[in-house]
Amino acid sequence: MQSDMLMNDTMLKLASDSKLVGILYMVIGGLLILLGLLIGEIAPFILVTAIAIVPIFIGLRARKGGQHIERLIGTNDPNDKIVAYENYQKHFAVLKVVLIIGNITLATMVLGLFEALTKLSSMMR
């Protein structure tokens, strides 16, 4: 009984947090589209909009997961738990791809900066 109450409390917090994270991801997607609009040219706008779809999708999955967890607390239907897990799993799957691309880009940037640093220090000698 006490364990169930604790589980419900944790799930309620998980639902609210994941819904908020979902909305924040969607806001990031929206801000990216706004940035594309601020640039004022059609080619970068299309590119940025294509990129912005990804965080919107990730956010939608987190939000749906949260909604199903909320429904699970109310109805106690095991199907809601499966659908919530499916949504979180898809959220993590897309995030995984984004993180792989992000890691490669950032590693290239760090290597470039290290190269610039070595060139700068050799020029100073």
């Binding site: 364990s3 604790l6 589980m7 944790t10 799930m11 917090k13 998980l14 947090d17 994941s18 908020l20 994270v21 924040l24 991801y25 806001v27 990031i28 801000l31 706004l34 940035l35 601020l38 987190a62 095991p78 199907n79 738990k81 499966i82 897990y85 499916e86 979180y88 799993q89 993590f92 799957a93 995030l95 995984k96 993180l99 792989i100 992000g102 890691n103 950032l106 590693a107 940037m109 760090v110 900066l113 290290f114 610039a116 640093l117 700068l120 220090s121 100073m124």
Partner: protein
Amino acid sequence: MENNFFEKSMTLLLGSNARVVGYLTIILGSLNVLLVLSIISVISKAPIPSNVMTLVVLLLLALLGTAILQIISGIKAKTTGEGFRDFLFTNDKMIEQISVGYLKNYFTITKILYIVNISFFVLIIIFLKTGLFKEMLVINPF
């Protein structure tokens, strides 16, 4: 029976994806820390005006803060994945409860991280639109 199989496969996928996301987020956070350190090394050797340096250092500190938060959220995602994997092996409801708790912690830290990121994003857009960056550079260049 079929429902149980579907639940187990979903839990397995959730666990493995969360674990990979955890490792990748830890790597991303560490790379961000490295990036900040290398930028500091580059700009400390370059002749930069003091007011520009203050702005750059503030931005770098913010980036360092978000990098540390990223590493923490990565650790939480990794623990979530490991928890769900353990639940599959043991079928213990208590372990599932603990894993859901870890997932909640992951989303809480991610929430803070994204609120900070969005605030900086909006600040930078406002600075760019109002030309505040230019003013800061023009008022006292040296």
